[in-house]
Symmetry: C2
Subunit: 167 residues, 2 copies
DNA sequence: TGTTGTCTATCTATCGATAGATAGATGCAT
DNA sequence: ATGCATCTATCTATCGATAGATAGACAACA
């Protein structure tokens, strides 16, 4: 993947996490990295393709982080909590798939499928680690919701306090 | 409040819950109720004012539902869970303030304030009923997140299973 | 007659997307 | 080694559609 392609995806991820799928544009992403919007189209023919690629990369990176922490000996719930917490700290924003999933019904089909994949694989990881279905759903739900609350009220500590009961 | 004003708010609420703040438009709302977009502007001068009014009505209605259930003898967490569940069932969509809050950083200031109010008053109600701060945040977070997961995966039962652990 | 509400018509700005040109790198055949 | 062709990556310019917003005419009604 070329340098520009990666820069486009980075900028797009940040924009989407801030404003959602319908709230980001080729022009903004292009301006962020100092090219023209037509150049973004060269790398990603449509908005749908760009958002889908960003979502897939996000999910893969997310799961990799979880697996890594589990390999280091942490229990699965703590691993999830840390990776969500990192995303909140490092980027200071919503979960990408939470931001897009909130308008799931309005997403282009390919994007919607990637967002679904994020939740499905997350639940799968938790189930394979031995959690019952209810517990797995509760973990994902609480983490996503706590991230949302922390963003809305602009108070990072809400993520900690909202998810403390999980572990 | 006039009949048209109410119809506008109803249509806007539905649109926003489906597509978020930046995903709904005056033209769509107008078409939904069979008027022109300029007529919507007559009742709500700006998009910001319209969304803020819809959010305030939503929050007030939401809290009224909670209070009512508490008055009927239900415990506060069950009351919250039922009201969230009703919103999911009756409207089949995200929580309005969840849908907008996901892009909180991108909202017009007045709208952002109303979304904040929803979370603040929700936490306040839970705290007044005796819940510790951590517990209150966890309840709101889990309910919002479970609604999100149910929407993304298009499976209403995920809301039940994700929030069963709260009560 | 004045108020209320809706209309038509229009404005400016931006959207996603496309066409066509260009400059530079790469590859290959003579 | 030279010269032609292709590929890559960007540009400028533009498309039709749509966004939010506004002005002014018109109708209903008190």
């Amino acid at each position: 993947m070329s340098e520009t392609t990666e820069a486009i995806m980075d900028a797009a991820e940040e924009r989407i996490r801030q404003a959602g799928y319908s709230g980001f544009s080729f022009r903004e992403v292009a301006a962020d990295i100092g090219v023209k919007s037509s150049s973004v189209h060269y790398h990603f023919p449509t908005k749908e393709k760009l958002a889908a690629a960003v979502a897939r990369r996000y999910t893969d990176r997310f799961l990799k982080g979880v697996d890594q922490r589990v390999a280091e000996g942490r229990d699965i719930v703590t691993a999830f909590r840390q990776v969500f917490g990192d995303a909140l700290d490092r980027d200071g924003r919503m979960c990408l798939c939470g931001a897009m999933g909130a308008t799931s019904a309005d997403l282009a089909e390919e994007v919607r499928a990637e967002v679904r994949r994020f939740f499905q694989l997350g639940l799968e990881r938790l189930a394979k680690a031995g959690l019952a279905k209810d517990a797995a759903v509760q973990v994902i739900a609480t983490l996503e919701g706590a991230m949302l609350a922390a963003n809305v009220l602009d108070d990072r500590s809400l993520f900690e306090s909202g998810t403390a009961g999980l572990v």
